[in-house]
């Protein structure tokens, strides 16, 4: 690591330390808020790791997340808790690799459509299996507190950032940037584009499943319709795009304001959350392409030009 890189890492490390102290100071309300934010930071950042460079819009988050909650729901009584996120991540990664192998050879539209229905597909199958075996929802009663959940999510967020940073430096990251710019060029210089995309897609799959496993105790009662709620996928997409996928910090910049806004709307006008979601989607497309990251880039450029003239 060069001195310059160390200089870049220090603010992140400091931010992590500060974030780690939040549960000791915050009220229960703000702790719950911080947990929600930590959850979305992991989901949106890992989403952007894949969708940012490749421009494939994944709506599979809810499917991976649901798989994760079910791993905890089924295994928390027999296995130590620390193993569950790992198992969930492995399953999520396998599911992502399978989905990726089927759809990522084809154009982006196929991928969007397939991931759009994936959560519903898994939910229908799980519900059916539960009906067959006569089982309903599950209670997840553990001694894990909100604080523990928050710290685990924070650790996971640190891992995701580390992964993003490493990928950015690696050959895979370089290959992905070429694919994002022009896939034909990428193929001509000898990049196995399908394999690169599948490999990268396993990261949001693993992260979202692990988040699901960690968060399961928070829900206490798990049933398919809540575990696989498709809304989650859209929230993640919108937060990541609002922040911008061009930089590693982009999704974070989207998660914080959107979570606060969402909370506000949910309390003021619970029936209008979908309208809000739609309006923010349209805002991003028409007013903020590139999200806050793109906006920041434009502001900086203007400042530079102003200073030079």
């Amino acid at each position: 690591m060069s001195a310059q890189e160390i200089g870049k890492v220090i603010p992140w490390a400091l931010a992590l330390v500060v974030a780690a102290f939040v549960p000791l100071m915050a009220s229960p309300y703000w702790l719950s808020m911080a947990t929600t934010m930590a959850m979305f930071v992991v989901l949106a950042t890992s989403w952007a790791l894949f969708s940012g460079p490749t421009h494939y819009i994944s709506l599979a988050t809810a499917a991976f997340f649901g798989v994760g909650t079910f791993v905890t729901g089924l295994g928390f009584q027999t296995l130590p808790f620390w193993m569950l996120p790992l198992i969930a991540a492995a399953l999520g990664g396998i599911l992502a690799a399978l989905v990726g192998m089927v759809t990522l050879r084809l154009s982006g539209v196929y991928f969007v459509i397939f991931t759009l229905g994936l959560a519903e597909l898994v939910r229908q199958v799980v519900t059916w299996v539960q009906n067959q075996t006569g089982q309903r929802g599950m209670y997840v009663l553990t001694s894990i507190t909100e604080k523990d959940i928050y710290w685990m999510l924070l650790g996971l967020a640190a891992l995701v950032y580390l992964a993003g940073w490493l990928i950015g430096r690696s050959k895979l990251g370089f290959a992905l940037r070429i694919i994002g710019n022009d896939e034909t060029v990428a193929r001509h210089v000898g990049i196995d584009t399908a394999m690169a995309k599948v490999a990268l897609f396993t990261i949001p799959g693993m992260a979202a499943a692990a988040v699901g496993a960690i968060l399961a105790p928070r829900y206490i009662y798990i049933e398919p319709s809540t575990a696989f709620a498709p809304l989650l996928s859209f929230q993640v997409v919108i937060m990541a795009l609002l922040g911008g996928t061009g930089r590693l910090w982009g999704p974070l910049a989207g998660v914080i304001p959107f979570t606060l806004l969402w909370e506000f709307i949910t309390r003021q006008a619970p029936n209008q959350t979908l309208l809000l979601l739609g309006i923010v989607f349209l805002l991003i497309v028409y007013v903020l392409p590139g999200g806050f990251v793109g906006l920041w880039g434009r502001i900086r450029r203007r400042l530079h030009q102003g200073g030079g003239a």
């Binding site: 459509i113 759009l116 597909l121 739609g278 349209l282």
Partner: protein, 288 residues
Amino acid sequence: MFILITGLLLGGTYALIALGLNLQYGVARIMNLANGELLVAGGFAAFWAYTAAQVSPVAALVLVAPIAFAVNWLIYRIMLQPLVSRAKSRGALEVDSILATFGMSFALVGIMTAVFGGGYFNYAYLSQPIDIFGSSYGQNRLVAFVLAAIIGLGLWLWLSYTRAGLRLRALAVNPNSARLVGIDTRAASAQAFALGGAITAVGGALISMFFTLDASVGVLFTMKALIIVIMGGVGDIRGTIVAAMILGICETAVARLIDPGLTLAAAYVLFLGILLFRPQGLFGKKPT
């Protein structure tokens, strides 16, 4: 036999919806994910006409179609044309239009929930049974199927034998070449998008005759229409109709024989097979 006929009757309406989406995606090049919401809006209109003014859903089509045409034309002109103009490549347009139409879809669900409430709605129109080959079916399903078949046939004749239809087909093949032979691609795209939207809304009005809708059910129809379009091949009317029938029969069979909760899963298994073995569609040629 029961499964076959019910599936075909269902597939007829699916075919109409998917034809609407296929016009929007195949000709206007807009992947319209708000398609299902416009369908539900068409269903709402028919419901409202029937319960408030005792207008039969069939007569309501005369009103639903032109209104939906106008609304979709405006949507294309105001919301989507700027995206088409600024897009550098087909891929960029695809991402933009997917996000924009997702936005519209959520906004529409929000608005419809606010206006009509979150509850289910249905009405009884021609709900008497009719006997075909010894089993009974709802008359409304039969009427919906016949109407869908007439409209689909009309669309096919129009596209195949009129000059306006030829323009749209040329646009579907290649927008850049279409411009070379003097086709106003902007106007033709707007027309195709509006026509597709009108057909979808009519399909919604037909479905509302025998299917219970609610404000948020649209996405389910969007998914089914997408699967049909991809299965049949983008821009291929014959393929769309065959694919819709296959999906209708397949769903009915799964709902009857295994579990009604698995219909979407069945559609997805079909979709998966298509993606694995024939991603270019049932009748599509392999890209060279």
